[in-house]
Symmetry: C2
Subunit: 329 residues, 2 copies
């Protein structure tokens, strides 16, 4: 029997041949990679240009992923399909026409807000959440039309519930965990998770220590037991991994992620002045070679073979098939 597909719903590494080889070694068939945090359109295009170079330089390791079938091709040829996404709507600036342009260039996920208020929605660090904006409603409709998935990982509660309601296609929370397990502004309430599951949306479980119970000391068993409990809450078919792996970056990068160009003052986000850098990853998930640990942990937590295969990648693949292109009528 061919092994099930293995997909990571979010990474933002300091990309290199080393990491591409680790993906291959870990049997990771597809990764949704962040290509914009605060970049405007032109800067995002520069990031795509860099990826085009890597596709040219490492054709035996990686390929551009635009569809579920591209993931299957990557799997069959022993490569990793790289799927582009934005953590912030900054690449579309104030121009709804850029939604289709970015989709044509390969974008498949876009967060409507990143921690702060955006033109479209509210981020999870704002004190007030007035919900999806006028432009946000228009952009969700356009994203639905072309097949650019709404991602609410860093968005606030009301905006997230409204996005699930307004979007005519299922949305994703590519990288976050349930609040019932670890209370954090970035983690999600039972209400959000239930609404997400009922609408056919996907949750990718994060391995970023600030999202983990016990942070860097979180155990594999605690993580996998949490997944089993979430499967009961919102259905195992709506779950995947979204590791939020930020490998090999200097700490200046987490500062960029948090502050971009929007503040002259440092904002420590989930960290603190005394703990401002990237936290160490749990020792059972340090890089792409460790996906097998999660698979084993899920089995040990009592999940069925089918549920484990779904969570490790089959669910993301089905979601890609259904949501990465214009809607079939």
């Amino acid at each position: 029997m061919t092994r099930p597909v293995r997909i990571d719903g979010l990474q933002y590494a300091n990309w290199s041949e080393k990491i591409f080889r680790q993906m291959q070694e870990g049997g990771v068939d597809a990764v949704h990679v962040t290509i914009a945090y605060h970049e405007n359109f032109r800067e995002t295009v520069l990031n795509i240009e860099q990826w085009n170079r890597w596709f040219e330089q490492y054709p035996d390791l990686i390929m551009h992923g635009r569809t579920g079938d591209d993931v299957r091709t990557a799997k069959e040829t022993g490569r990793t399909a790289i799927i582009f996404g934005f953590q912030n709507p900054s690449p579309i600036e104030d121009d709804i026409g850029l939604v289709e342009i970015c989709h044509t260039l390969g974008a498949r996920f876009m967060q409507l807000s990143y921690n702060n208020q955006s033109l479209l929605a509210t981020g999870c660090y704002e004190a007030e959440d007035p919900g999806i904006t006028r432009m946000g409603k228009q952009v969700i409709r356009e994203m639905n039309r072309v097949g650019l998935v709404v991602d609410m990982s860093h968005s606030a509660e009301r905006s997230t519930l409204e996005a699930i309601e307004i979007s005519e296609r299922p949305i994703a929370i590519t990288h976050a965990n349930p609040s019932f397990w670890h209370e954090a502004l970035r983690n999600k309430s039972d209400d959000v998770l239930r609404a997400l599951g009922q609408s056919g949306g996907m949750l990718g479980f994060s391995l970023y220590p600030h999202h983990l119970k016990g942070k860097s000391d979180c155990t594999l068993q605690s993580f996998c037991d949490m997944i089993a409990r979430t499967a009961e809450l919102m259905g195992p078919q709506n779950l995947g991994i979204g590791s939020d792996l930020c490998q090999d970056h200097p700490d200046s990068v987490v500062e960029w992620m948090r502050v971009g160009r929007w503040s002259k003052e440092i904002d420590y986000g989930e960290g603190s002045k005394d703990n401002a850098g990237f936290p160490p990853m749990p020792d059972w998930f340090e890089d792409n070679r460790h996906f097998g640990n999660i698979e084993q942990g899920l089995r040990a937590a009592g999940l069925s073979d089918q549920d484990v295969a779904g969570i490790m990648g089959e669910n993301w693949l089905r979601f890609f098939d259904e949501n990465f292109g214009p809607r079939q009528v």
Copy 2:
């Protein structure tokens, strides 16, 4: 028998539903449309956004054309495939990475220079022509790699001969006529035409009056006799139409085409102070409904059915099949 395909190798109209309907009425299966004269990358993207709107608004009349097969689909469904091209390399700015980005967005032709010196090559109005630049050589290689066709319609003689030599794939002169018929800076010498034909390149015959013998009074017979003579010079399989139809534009647009942002003084280009606007088209080719006149004229000039079908579109279609994507190895 199905009718042969009909393709126009260049137009730049003031696009409207009226013109799209005229294309349909004229049985025009594909048009290479100019989407940039002097626009930088971001401005070119705005023009693509406008086309995306038209594709959404007029799905029964037009569709985006990226391949020869898209042209066949357009023909089978009674629509016109719209193929994007640039008259100037301004959309790639000083960034070779934008070659692939623009190709991904649909660009299939790019002129290396437009009348003036560019970063890549020399235009036909410059006094000196030092040939293809350092960046030009790099960009030609990259265009060859991704399948973006080099177009030298507005380039100077030496640059054009060098582009034919340097390019590892055939190039195009999408819209110009032979100098032997009508001497003009924009028309092409026998040397250029022979080299173009020997390399498998394509010449699109222009209907723009400044390129015609007798200008607006040029006769259909004179035009078609010229085509027959050019077929002897460079082979009938290397010929097509590139009408340069600039329909429904105010005269301010021809000024933009000529001056862009590069001069504070007016430059009249092929016109003059007393004749600064768009010249009237010959009465046998006023818009897309008149392609049948050319077809009849070519038959009257003694060309075979096969040659006529080739010139009216089959040659462009073969060229699209061979040159619009990454090279097959």
